[in-house]
Amino acid sequence: MPVKWRLRLYFLLLALAITVTFFIVRVKADLSTFFVTGTSTEEILLANEMQSGKLSRQYIASLRCDGLESAALTSFVNRFSDSVSKLKDVQGVWQPGQNQQLIDKLLPLYLPHASQIYSLEPEQYLSRLFTQEKLDQRAQLLKTSLLSLQGRRVKQIALQDPLLFTFSAFEDLTKFNQTTPKPSQDYITLIIESSLSGLAGAEQHQLQATLQALFTEQNSKIEIACTLEMTGVPIFAAATETMIKADIQRITIIASIGLVIVFLWIFRSLTALFWVSLVLLSAATGALLVTTLIYGYVHGLTLAIGTTLIGICVDYPIHAMVHASATNRELKEQAILKIWPSLLLGGITTIIGYTALGLSGYPGFQQIATYAGTGILISLLFTRFILPDLMTDRPVRSTVNLGMERWLNWCDNWHGLAILFVLVFATGAMFRLPSLQWIKDLSELTPEMDDLKAQDQRIRARFTSIEPGRFILVRGDDVESVLQKSETLYRLLDQLKDKDALASYIGLYPWLVSNALQKRNQLALDKYWQGNALELWHHALEKHGLSVRRLGDIRPQEKSHLQPHEILMSPASRLFSSQLVINDGRVMAMVWLAQHDPDSVRSAVNKLEGVSYFSQRDILNKLANDYRMQAVKMLFFGLSVIFLLLIIRYRSPANALRVLMPAVSAALFIMTGLSFLSIPLSFIHLVGFLLAVAVCVDYGIFFLENRSGNITLTYHAMAASMLTSAMAFGSLSMAENASLKALAVTVALGVVLGFLLCPIFIRPGQERISFADRH
């Protein structure tokens, strides 16, 4: 095809691709793509629940109004709650543990079933209760309760449940609420449940602004300034999304400006800048299009990390342009064709690196790998088929002297010493490797969120003593089986309480009781009320001046069992919504734990089938370890595939090793440096090493093959590519996100070191033409 038509076809396809991409591309910035999940069913279900369940949609709002008297405070909180509950994105607002109206609403639901839910061990419970002494005590309790502050409420209960079985059922829960110290009485806690997904950062950010505005509005109506603090998954999601957006903007601007400056400094040509811009435009458009077609959207973090593509994608055309600039006009295409095999091999090794990255298992990295791989492929094709056409009949200015010749000469003159020094240093570094520090907890990867994490702990500590990160998970195929397993678990936990291994726990009992236990409770009671128990009870009532006529009948009133769906449809579901997950035919119940001895609880719980002790910290540690191991595997997998490819290409393991050595040594030296600086490594660093190796191998290939026959020119071209890569990856260090910073350090330092080590490890033995002679 004639050059003219080939270029026309290229521009036509580019315009078409840009148009299609513009209309179909969808950029998402919510965290679900990058949300860490586990490998087990439970971990995945929990992760799903954290992403879209009720728990993820709830804000915990903490209000403080010093000096505001009670009635005014109540009025203030009610006005704020009312205005919040009217928002279209809010499903409900309530005060945990303080909603007396809710308890009043629940009484009619539970009271008729009091004889079915009163105990986890009904036979033992009744055998202890139905003695004259214990019934006397129960009558005394009834009388005392009737005459107490709560007399009105007790009367309502006693008329249907004279033996106060409801008290027994809720006894532990009441005790927990009354005896567990609330660290602070100065705050009012509100739970605000939104209807939006907890991880929909942008929408949640808008809702948070509205909540703050409503609070400020209410605040302006009183003389005392109240304060509002909030926490919850949506707070973290919105903060993260804001940070990601800011990072994308900052990195894009810095990387673009930096690259233009570096490029103009090296090539001193706006025409050349235009060509490289075309590469970037083509690569970015193609990457966006392919990623959108495969995944349906492009994530913001893919764009942020993909921005570094700029550095890698321009490597190939820059390398080609440097070679072309050193030849006559007519020989430009030949110069590019000459180095094309090196470019192709370099491109393939880089794509292998990104493929290994995609297989690392970290959520979202598959998309980054697709995005980067597509961009590199397009850049290669552009360099081979479009760039020569663009350069035809257009002069290319000679590039600026980057001073690489002096380094080449030094390496040449002192080669033995240099290689000895590097090998000694590398050996020393190998000994340092075992003392590398690793990040053990995934949460350490987000130090930028430390303030929010501290606020979260502060707010939660104000209203609950439950340990938020540790709980017991009960799983099953249906609600009934989960409830039955849970009830067995509660009996076990009660034993642990007796041994002081557990302070307290909150399960689903008595809010949800299995049909089996309800039946057992009722059967046990039936045996008693028909015997002399009724006589004993009447005697106890008479003794304490209570009405036998009104309170003497203890026959169960209700035969049908209280079904889970009745409870789940009632306001009671709000009280345990965070403890029950029903998802895709699987049911999970969570039992929250107060202060406890983890080892005792874990060993006791492990005896039960379908029940496991969960520690969020343990899960995160395990995930961090899994990702690290996977990243190590992928690093070796990537290296092995690249090494194999190089052996096939060169038919010489020695040459393949020479190409790899600069990259591997660079990674080794950076690891050692981080170790000396006591900076703990994470799998993100390993991913960075993988990318650095993939890029540095290109330099090794270019340097070893030296297809132009002029090693100074080749190294000069490599220097131009290295500078743009280092610039692009280095710009990631401007991000707030600590993972991006870690990538910046490893990859940018890696490519610089890898580039500098090439002349030490590789001796191409080709013609040397000085930079001055060339020009």
Binding site: E69, S70, A71, L73, T74, S75, N78, Q98, N99, Q100, Q101, Q140, L141, K143, T144, S145, L146, L147, S148, L149, Q150, G151, R152, R153, K155, A158, L159, Q178, Q185, E542, G545, L546, S547, V548, R550, L551
Partner: protein, 211 residues
């Protein structure tokens, strides 16, 4: 019950609502207690779940701006205390302890709002919850507090405070509106000063469970 008791204690500590020429506003203006005060009481409750009326006795304490204590000494010791935000109830013998916030959502603690209104002589606030009927005759004064229809959801009881002309309140009757349960309080003489003050502090600590 607490609302009745609070209302009761405030009223009984009032200086005499003395003269028939007085109207509600002038009486309310004198209601605010200025010092700690203590008065004895005898209580009789008529509950339909009890075979016979129940009797108790003890002392009421009040201290401006918002502290209130009910110390029941017979048949057994029970302490109930409240300030502007919280309510404590402690029955040591039966191990019953209550510690809760005063909230409009809770009918049991709602009387505090009335208490606040009374202690401040805030007729407007009181009138948001109750319809007040003040009357005199035959040498007695009487203040009838009828829950307003709009405060029906709070389940406030009807209360009647009465006394001889020129004297402090002598009797309070608290009547539940949805059943026949009612309570009568007969009040004794009041004492003021530093002794009630220090007793209040000790009793509040006891109700909180600190002692």
């Amino acid at each position: 019950m607490i609302r009745c008791e609070k209302l009761f204690i405030i009223v009984c500590f009032l200086p005499a609502i003395a003269h028939s020429a007085e109207n509600l506003e002038t009486v309310m203006a004198r209601m605010a207690a200025h010092r700690a005060i203590k008065t004895s009481y005898n209580e009789t409750r008529y509950l339909d779940l009890l075979d016979k009326p129940w009797s108790g006795a003890g002392f009421f304490y009040a201290k401006p701006p918002s502290q209130l204590v009910k110390l029941q000494l017979s048949p057994e010791r029970v302490v109930m205390a409240a300030d502007e935000k919280k309510l404590w109830y402690y029955d040591a013998k039966h191990g019953v302890h209550f510690d809760g916030k005063i909230s409009q959502d809770d009918p049991i603690t709602m009387g505090v709002a009335s208490f606040q209104a009374l202690i401040n002589g805030d007729v407007k606030r009181l009138q948001t919850l109750y319809r007040l009927q003040f009357s005199t005759g035959n040498g007695y004064w009487s203040l009838l507090l009828l829950p307003k229809p709009e405060s029906k959801s709070m389940k406030l009881p009807q209360m009647e405070v009465s006394g001889r002309e020129g004297k402090a309140a002598q009797k309070i009757v608290v009547q539940q509106l949805d059943n026949a349960d009612h309570s009568e309080y007969l009040l004794g003489e009041s004492t003021e000063g530093s002794q009630p003050d220090s007793e209040i502090s000790a009793l509040i600590r006891e109700a909180k469970g600190y002692d």
